[in-house]
């Protein structure tokens, strides 16, 4: 299960149009979400700075791996850094 949360638009709450542009730019085939209107940047405030990548164990929802990519957008993203661990875990647990 992959959840992509567009948590802010230059520190402001992103809009549906922002989300559509985000998806279209990368042709994203994964669940892609934003905070509901009226709650500000709740995900950013709760989960942490962008870009944060969490791997959670679904039965407990505990964070078993976390990595932050570069705020400057330099170097490998958090997701790229998390992929090896995710594949390792999936190999242990079977299909997601």
């Amino acid at each position: 299960m992959i959840v992509e949360v567009l948590a802010s638009n230059a520190n402001a709450p992103p809009t549906r149009n922002n989300l559509n542009a985000w998806i279209s730019t990368f042709s994203l085939p994964v669940t892609a979400l934003i905070d509901p209107s009226g709650v500000g940047t709740r995900t950013l405030n709760t989960y942490g700075i962008r870009e944060s990548t969490f791997i959670v164990e679904l039965s407990t929802m505990r964070v078993v791996f976390k990595v932050n990519g570069s705020v400057a957008g330099i170097g490998p993203s958090g997701v790229a850094q998390a992929i090896p661990r995710m594949l390792e875990l999936l190999g242990d647990a079977g299909t997601p």
Binding site: V30, T31, Y47
Partner: protein, 147 residues
């Protein structure tokens, strides 16, 4: 359930999301290219295997691999999730290793199969609990920012 191999291009796509949106990475391009060729097959693939190109090959015929006596039951790859299967774990919640990630609500596009571009799907509301349902294994949650 989704086969892990199907995740790889999706993960690589998501991996591009922290970079400049106008410049997807070469790694992404390579992964997409590899995925297309491996999924669809090609005449080059057949000739590489030593097969003559003019022999008809049934690429999409379903094959029963190892259960000749089993009833013909369709396989459901992405079964509906029972969202009431288990309550969301109690807190305290946090965003560090070992913490329980808080259950948030969102709106957007839920795409559990990864078979289409997400904004071709209905716009809806959901939550981490609804997405979790009774699934097993692990989830990747990626927090990104539009710049």
């Amino acid at each position: 359930m989704t086969h892990p191999r199907r995740w790889i291009p999706a993960l690589l796509l998501a991996a591009a999301c922290s970079s400049d949106p106008a410049a997807p990475s070469p790694t992404l391009d390579a992964a997409l290219s590899d995925d297309v060729s491996s999924d669809r097959g090609s005449m080059a693939d057949l000739t590489d295997l030593g097969m003559p190109a003019d022999v008809p090959v049934a690429l999409d015929v379903p094959v029963a691999l190892d259960a000749p006596d089993a009833p013909d039951v369709p396989v459901v790859l992405d079964a509906p999730v029972d969202v009431a299967a288990s309550p969301y774990p109690d807190g305290p919640y946090g965003n560090r290793m070992g913490s329980v990630l808080a259950n948030l609500t969102w709106e957007g596009y839920v795409n559990p199969t990864g078979e289409v571009i997400s904004n071709t799907l209905p716009y809806t509301t959901t939550s981490l609990q609804a997405l979790r349902g009774n699934r097993r294994g692990y989830a990747m949650v990626h927090v990104s920012e539009f710049l």
